[in-house]
């Protein structure tokens, strides 16, 4: 650089520079604005929206108070001075994560008259010590396992998606994760993690049945009979999450949506001659049996207590 300011830390990494912008603390949000959806089967889901005050795109860290999986799934502008942050969590408890929101110093105005400001060459602030600049304590890159379930063993009902959500949930509850160790973290860590990975798994069941009103001769119906055929495809859609348990970070899955699609056909005959029938279909389809976006996802860790 020919002019400006740069400070390196003890690791010889850039700490403050007039060519970049440090992230500064904007606020802490302990309560969601609303609950978007929730369910208790399939490992559980809580999906919340937090509306945060920010004029520039915020960077959100989560304090995760339970060992469930968490992820930020959506960051979108809401008007000129707010952003909506959507967070999902596995499990069934009502405990909500705290969000620690950071942004570059243009998003805040300090009232204190004491401190240090570094400006960029356009006169906008790059760093302002009065605005609680972000300090981190660690980080890693995580990849989610390609399959949310180690194996799927299903005895769900083939007929008209008749199995309960609870029965389906037992089949699809995610149990796979990758483990990472991040040593020497604070007692109240906060995590930056944007959820990108997604997966869908499904199980297909089919069955049939014959009814004969006449005589069954070596498997053939002599008289009037009916043939029934059913298909049911149960499915679950997952998104990637992270969990933290005393120094161990896991990259696992959160069930985000589930459903079932069914098909039914009936054929009637008399002495082997078709006399009519019918069919029906219903339910919802997800996209195909696929896992996406498994590329390395950044996780950054900081000390939440520094901003309480």
């Amino acid at each position: 650089m020919s002019y400006g300011f740069i400070a390196y830390n003890d690791n010889n990494d850039v700490l403050v520079s007039s060519d970049t912008r440090n992230l500064h603390f904007l606020g802490k949000y302990t309560n969601p604005t609303s609950t978007i959806t929730s369910f208790d089967t399939h490992g559980g889901l809580r999906h919340w929206k937090y509306t945060v005050a920010a004029s520039v795109t915020p960077v959100v860290f989560m304090y995760m108070p339970t060992t469930d999986y968490y992820g930020v799934v959506r960051t979108t502008r809401n008007g000129t001075s707010n952003f909506d942050i959507e967070v999902i969590r596995s499990g069934t408890s009502g405990t909500t994560p705290d969000l620690y929101v950071f942004a570059d110093p243009r998003a805040s105005t300090a009232t204190d008259q004491y401190g240090m400001i570094v400006y960029q060459n356009d006169g906008t602030p790059a760093f302002d010590s009065r605005l609680s600049p972000l300090a981190i304590t660690g980080g890693t890159s995580v990849t989610h396992p390609s399959n949310p379930k180690g194996s799927i063993s299903s005895s769900l009902d083939c007929r008209n998606c008749n199995s309960s959500n609870s029965a389906s949930g037992s089949v699809f509850a995610p149990d796979q994760y990758n483990t990472y160790t991040i040593a020497s973290q604070p007692s109240k860590p906060m995590f930056f993690f944007a959820s990108l990975a997604q997966s869908e798994r499904q199980v297909f069941h089919q069955c049939s049945e014959e009814e004969c009103d006449g005589f069954d001769v070596y498997g053939a119906c002599i008289g009037s009979g009916r043939y029934y055929y059913w298909e049911s495809t149960y499915w679950c859609f997952y998104r990637g999450g992270i969990s933290w348990n005393d120094g161990t970070l896991r990259a696992g899955w959160i069930a985000n949506q589930f459903g079932c699609n069914w098909y039914y056909r009936k054929e009637s005959d008399l002495l082997g001659i078709g006399t009519g029938g019918g069919s029906g279909a219903g339910g919802s389809w997800p996209y195909s049996n696929q896992t996406l976006n498994l590329q390395n996802n950044a996780v950054i860790v900081g000390d939440a207590s520094r901003y309480d």
């Binding site: 400070a7 390196y8 830390n9 003890d10 690791n11 990494d13 850039v14 700490l15 403050v16 520079s17 060519d19 970049t20 912008r21 440090n22 992230l23 520039v56 795109t57 960077v59 930020v72 799934v73 959506r74 960051t75 979108t76 959507e86 570059d104 204190d112 008259q113 004491y114 401190g115 240090m116 010590s129 009065r130 609680s132 600049p133 972000l134 300090a135 981190i136 304590t137 980080g139 930056f192 944007a194 959820s195 990108l196 997604q198 869908e200 859609f237 998104r239 985000n256 949506q257 389809w285 997800p286 996209y287 195909s288 696929q290 996406l292 976006n293 590329q295 996802n297 950044a298 950054i300």
Partner: protein
Amino acid sequence: MAFGLNIFDSGGDITYSTTDVTWNQVDFFQVNGGSSASKTYPFISGRAVLTAQFFIDGPPSTRAATAHTVSVSGTNVTVSGGSENAYIIVLSR
């Protein structure tokens, strides 16, 4: 401290110092689904760089929602291949 930088608040407490570690924001921009972007940042030459992306719209369950591929080569950052609108953040230190 024998050398380095301490920044104090009005109460005399250190708010930031050269013992701290951080990632600095080099850029934050939006790339829509089906679009691409290529940017050059001379500042990141020889420095550690971290990129991340956020979905602007929650990914749907009815179709594949592919994230962008973000690559860093020298001072260039390229973003492409995603089907969804996303914010891209480029961090350096």
